[in-house]
Amino acid sequence: MKLRFAAAVAAAMMAAAPALADLTVPNLSYRTGPYGANGNQYADGFNDYFTLLNERDGGIGGQKILTPECETAYNTEKGVECYESTKGNNALVYNPFSTGITYQLIPKVAADGIPMVTPGYGRTSAKDGSVFQWVFNPPANYWDGASVIVKHLLDVNGGDLNGKTIALVYHNSAFGKEPIRTLEELSKKHGFTLSQIPVDPPGQEQKSQWLQIRREKPDYVILYGWGVMNQAAIQEAANIRYPMENLIGIWWAGGEVDVEPAGAAANGYKSATFNGVGMDYPFYGDLKTHVLDTGKASGGGAHVGKAMYSRGMYAALIIAEGIKKAQELAGTPEITAAQMRDGLEALEITEARMTELGLPGFGQPFQLSCQNHGGSGMGMIQQWDASAKQWKLITDFIQPDEDVLQPLIQADAQAFAAENSIQPRCN
């Protein structure tokens, strides 16, 4: 009796193996916990893109793409469990959608030889492919985001930020602390004063922080928040009547969920983004025909077109293009994880290709290489229109300040290489 039970437990502990010959891209998602609202949309977008490819094109190169989901609850340990339980099934590439889990997985994917793609999050210095051989963070990273925002502020101020003050309100975690070093460099370069205001997660209560902002009256506030912290920050900003157009969030503070609870007061709030917004793309026609109308949409299609959904979709797009490239290079549709890495390192997404995919201007053109795992790092600025309940793009793609970023990335990557005795390659 006891033995039989143990056997049943053991059997259940073994994750079900998918049919061979399919390509597996595990979707480490989170639909519960404090960040479940964001994770929900993202995971739906990620799934739907592959569903569309499977339904419309029969997969990529004739190979169906499976995206078995595993719930991480944004928890690093569950993330590791998900990674371990899925990697055995010929996992091709990972996209954990959590900076914390990314840090856990960086050494693991290197040991296992499975590439990881972290669009817009994760470890910034992973852009240096000579050190981080298995990690990719195109098209933009946290430091790019900070630089793009400052560039935008330069544009708004006629190229001069001298004497201005900028406050950084940040999630007191790995993610929130990322831009500090960049912004410090940029403040030296452009002569603005940077003040740092940390908010401990979860961050529903930010009265002190916003009273401080009200007293100090910084010209601009940059928001690196996540989850409830964003909603609370935008609400408090509205409460003190901080000019919304001077409050600019990183892309993870740029979803509908972040602004909607504040209602009309959030009108004019800006955030960075590395992908297009809204549903004015031909792509959505196909999506409707093949996925939404056939009832195959992930999560019932409730979030199609939302900002987080779009980002999840874009992440899937980058991975799909990588698979395609890898198949070309390998000369076979049944690629391995190592071949996937080669495909990603040869990945080039042009404007023409984006148009071909039905998403003209949705994402920036970029090219990866052995050395460059991060792409061009451009971002746009979007602004919230509360009456229409829509994000509007107000700039084109803005190039980050590579002069400042590149040395920082190199220094950080080299420190990592030294700490872990990694021999840089690509020479």
Partner: protein, 358 residues
Amino acid sequence: MLYREAGDFKTSYRDDSQTFPLKLDRMGYWVTLAVAFGVIPFVITDYWANAVLVPFLIYAIAALGLNILVGFGGQVSLGTGGFMAVGAYATYKLTTTFPEISLLIHILLAGGITAAVGVFFGLPSLRIKGFYLAVATLAAQFFLVWLFNKVPWFYNYSASGQITAPERTFLGYVISGPATSAPAKYLVCLAFAVALAWVARNLTRGTAGRKWMAIRDMDIAAEIIGVNPLTAKMSAFAVSSFFIGVAGALLFSIYLGAAEASETFGINKSFLVLFMVIIGGLGSIFGSFAGAAFLVVLPVFLKNVLVGAFGWPTDLAAHVELMIVGALIVFFLIVEPHGLAQLWRLTKEKLRLWPFPH
């Protein structure tokens, strides 16, 4: 009738105070150990190591530690996450500062440092009791996490505040860092878990354990019969924190390989370990293992059943999983408030009588 104590006589007090007075229990124990050390390392996969066994062993150590404090010492603590963070960060600082010294020694030292921190935060227990103390230990939890987040020295000034375990070897085998094999991880954790369980058993069956339990059961009477509450409570905090520190060190250096204070060692960790202790059984060493196994395995099990076998969407499964875990906690408490260990004892008592129930 197969499981019995009749005829199992003790001829010395030494025999009588051993861990498993019954021969059958003793045999079961040795067989378990033999399998754990002799069989599992050869069959273990990455998945079993990383998703089940390694976290189980590490949490068992933490639960043992907390059980010493709560179950034996009667002092409720919600600072476990913070103390685990001390262990993790101490290991990180030690092993990056003195890379030539074995990681295993650093882990023990980290336990010692955690013990010192634990004693400091345990001092209020001399004045504060019960739930007030539980909430007071949250001060340690939040302050320590804030400290490790805030002071760059603790994370060697890395940009994101993450700490990453460097590669370390023991007897030529890699035991830390990404290249660690599943058996190596498992064996290191197993060795620590077995050794510390043995230590916990020794402490709780002897003088220290009696002092702790006396304070737990009736602190005033304990003092009047000669127990110094200061040393008794502080030694409970020290020993408990040592265990928890080692667990934190292993969690970081062997299991996860990277950690961030607020994410990995948050308040949830404190609650999780406390659940393990209560569900397993307060004041029981076996219970610490049972509780850890229950709470590590159950979610993985439920996830695999609901998502893997039934094919539910992951979010539904995750929500149902929460409901099931919650309902099971309540159910267990109603059926047996003294935890899995008591359930196991009762089962054994029934087995002794089987097949003649009267």
